[in-house]
């Protein structure tokens, strides 16, 4: 019932009492996401964080009196439904879109660029969209999967006795997303002199025993797990069952508190993951959200989600988007349309959402924001950062971005 309630309310989200007095139309963001199919493991908390952040901004008076409105609809991870939802939201005046779905985002890229509206693709979508000169209206905003793999490898290099001579296994879901880190890790293996091998399991990953028998015989020093949803907890369980120490398991960003509960909070102690955004509520933005949005009952979902990994990622995405809108309004002299908002994104410099995320700088060439992140370790109770915000091997990552962008340009 929570989902339907959320969707129902969101369609006409009255984001705070100040909205009634606003002189201008609200700034509309289309948060058209997959609430019923593949991305359900993340979309509920993520979208809740997005809506709650916009509510906070409105409660605090908006930007120069301009309020924000979230248009929330379900795409079911289907490009056709995504396109339909996009067109409706466009007609309603949305100037920014977030689909949190790689297939839907990919289907919209050309249309969004043609319509000159902003498409943000945090932690999903095309990695090569970081090439701003090729994808002027698409903003990954956070580290691509290539950058995430690079940061995890760099952590081993800096903290686990170096990469040289080690064996790294990538155990991934057999999909384009799962295969994404392979070229980066192959390049790094050559550069840093370690051995690398990839192992694929079929989607959705509820049964991986045969793959892990093979991984165990490979005797890796570290294992990168690259999946999402229930498949991630199966990966951790199988790794531990096959004698791989939890300390040697490294995950893509999609490993959260719910996965720890599925594996067993104690059994998962020591597992590390790439982290894009800080978790918990020990942050000025989250503190204000609790005070002004959650406690007064203005939140878009369950209170228990506030401060969770995916909730905070949602908050951070909207913090970046609102910052872009603020810069666009302050520095522009025309209406806030898609082009003005795009220019606002490209003005973002060292923005860290009051410490919630790494400081990102977005330029016309780099829409990824530098590819920052950090490594966090599951303590048995929570995710604890074990590295500072950092970026790694961006020369190799950039070559992948440019190669992908060149291929896209060649095909268009």
């Amino acid at each position: 019932m929570r989902l339907f309630a959320k969707l129902g309310f969101a369609a006409a989200l009255a984001l705070g009492p100040a909205a009634a007095t606003a002189q201008e139309e609200p700034i509309k963001f289309g948060l058209l996401q997959d609430f019923t199919a593949v991305y359900t493991f993340v979309s509920g908390e993520y979208n809740q964080g997005q809506q709650d952040y916009l509510t906070l901004v409105n409660e605090e008076g908006g930007i120069d009196g301009r309020m924000f409105e979230a248009i929330v609809r379900d795409t079911g991870n289907e490009p056709q439904r995504g396109i339909e939802a996009y067109n409706r939201a466009r007609e309603e005046g949305a100037i920014l879109f977030d689909f949190l779905s790689t297939p839907v985002s990919r289907a919209i890229v050309d249309q969004a660029m043609q319509d000159e509206v902003v498409l943000i693709t945090p932690l999903h979508g095309r990695g090569d969209a970081a090439a701003g000169q090729t994808f002027p209206y698409v903003f990954p905003v956070m580290a691509t999967y290539w950058s995430q793999a690079a940061i995890l490898a760099d952590y081993i290099n800096e903290n686990e006795g170096g990469l040289e001579g080690k064996k790294i296994a990538l155990v991934h879901i057999d999909s384009p997303f799962g295969r994404e880190p392979t070229p980066i890790l192959e390049d790094l293996a050559e550069q840093e002199s370690f051995e690398f091998r990839a192992f694929a399991y079929p989607s959705p990953g509820n049964e991986q025993s045969a793959v892990w028998s093979e991984v165990r015989r490979y005797r890796p020093d570290a294992v990168f797990i690259w999946g999402a949803g229930g498949g991630q907890s199966v990966s951790v369980r199988e790794a531990i069952r096959n004698g791989i120490s939890a300390e040697n398991i490294y995950s893509v960003v999609w490993l959260a508190e719910t996965d720890a509960q599925n594996v067993g909070v104690d059994a998962m102690e020591g597992v590390k993951r790439y982290e894009a955004v800080a978790t918990g509520t020990d942050n000025p933005i989250l503190s204000r959200m609790v005070e002004q949005v959650i406690e007064p009952g203005l939140g878009a979902g369950g209170e228990a989600n506030v401060g969770s990994s995916y909730y905070n990622i949602g908050v951070a995405t909207m913090a970046v988007a609102v910052e872009a809108a603020r810069l666009a309004i302050e520095n522009g002299d025309g209406p806030l349309d898609g082009t003005a908002l795009k220019n606002g994104f490209e003005m973002i410099e060292d923005f860290d959402a009051e410490g919630l995320m790494p400081p990102i700088t977005i330029t016309t060439e780099d829409h990824q924001g530098g590819g920052f992140g950090r490594v966090a370790r599951w303590t048995g109770e929570e995710w604890e950062p074990v590295s500072d915000w950092t970026t790694a091997y961006q020369d190799i990552v950039r070559s992948e971005i440019d190669a992908g962008a060149a291929e896209y340009s060649g095909g268009n």
Binding site: T40, N206, A210, S213, E214, I240, T258
Partner: protein, 292 residues
């Protein structure tokens, strides 16, 4: 050799876990003559039901019993609301109806109870059972035992008076009516029993991977199991499950490194295709099965 044995044993156990999901499929077909494409969603729903009961505060054993009662009732409801109006209609329409039910449940249940994966701890540790150099998955070992028990119980059930009535109804609705058997009641009971079987599959698979919508994807291997074993054969569920599990473990275990990706779904697809081409009624199925 140890590697082969490990693939073989774990594959067999996984196959028996698939058999649990396939059992409800066969129970419904054997009783009502309807291939139930909603079986994956029933497994998912059963897991959600068990999780909800545990979350509500019931101990696991009570949660499983309560979930079984709930799923039995849901099976009866499906018959009363959806299937009874379809009696006498072409089988293909009933099949399409079960497909619609699958899609509906897959969206509705996570929508109501939450889509994020939910833990269902049934107390099986992560440590493997090690025999020689072979690591056996403890959860699959338990699942395999439960599957064998439930399959055996199902075989015995169809030798009871009620089971015989269900088989008669499956054979010929009109003749069953003529001799005074209640076709509607028989179909309702078969759906109810399939709901109970789904609880076994849902709880065991849910404990392995967490409870979420992806449990409904067990329909694919379950279909392979029933096609290979025979859509109306409980013995076939057992043998088909073993075969699908072993082939889906051993072949990818050796082939994946060369294929550059996972070949298990390819193996499962080939099992379905080759069985239909060579022996459409499966290993233990009756030859007079109506193909759709």
């Amino acid at each position: 050799m140890a590697y082969f044995l490990e693939l073989l044993v774990n594959g067999a156990l996984v196959g028996l876990m698939y058999s649990l999901a396939a059992l409800g499929f066969v129970l419904i077909y054997k009783s009502s003559g309807v291939p139930n494409l909603a079986q994956g969603a029933l497994v998912m729903m059963a897991a959600y039901a068990a999780w909800a009961m545990v979350d509500f505060g019931l101990p696991l054993w009570a949660a499983v019993i309560a979930a079984a009662a709930l799923m039995f009732a849901f099976g009866l409801l499906v018959e009363r609301v959806l299937l009874r109006p379809m009696v006498g209609q072409p089988v293909i329409m009933v099949v399409m109806l079960t497909l619609g039910l699958e899609i509906l449940l897959r969206g509705l249940v996570p929508g109501l109870l939450g889509a994020a994966p939910k833990p269902l701890d049934i107390g099986i540790g992560l440590a493997p059972v090690i025999v020689g150099d072979v690591f056996m998955n403890r959860a699959y070992l338990v699942g395999g035992v439960v599957a064998v028990v439930l399959i055996g119980a199902s075989m015995l059930f169809f030798r009871t008076r009620l089971g015989t009535k269900l088989r008669a109804v499956s054979d010929d609705h009109v003749a069953s009516w003529a001799v005074g058997l209640s076709v509607e009641r028989a179909i309702a009971i078969s759906w109810g029993i399939a709901g109970i079987a789904a609880v076994g599959a849902g709880v065991l698979w849910g404990s392995v991977q967490g409870v979420d919508w992806t449990l409904s994807s067990l329909l694919f291997p379950a279909v392979a199991v029933v096609i290979l074993g025979g859509i109306d054969s409980i013995k076939g569920v057992f043998v088909g499950g073993l075969a699908v599990g072993i082939l889906g473990s051993v072949i990818p275990g050796y082939l994946d490194a060369y294929a550059g990706g996972s070949t298990r779904d390819v193996v499962t697809s080939l099992i379905i295709l080759l069985t239909i081409m060579i022996r459409p009624y499966g290993i233990f199925g009756r030859e007079d099965i109506e193909r759709i």
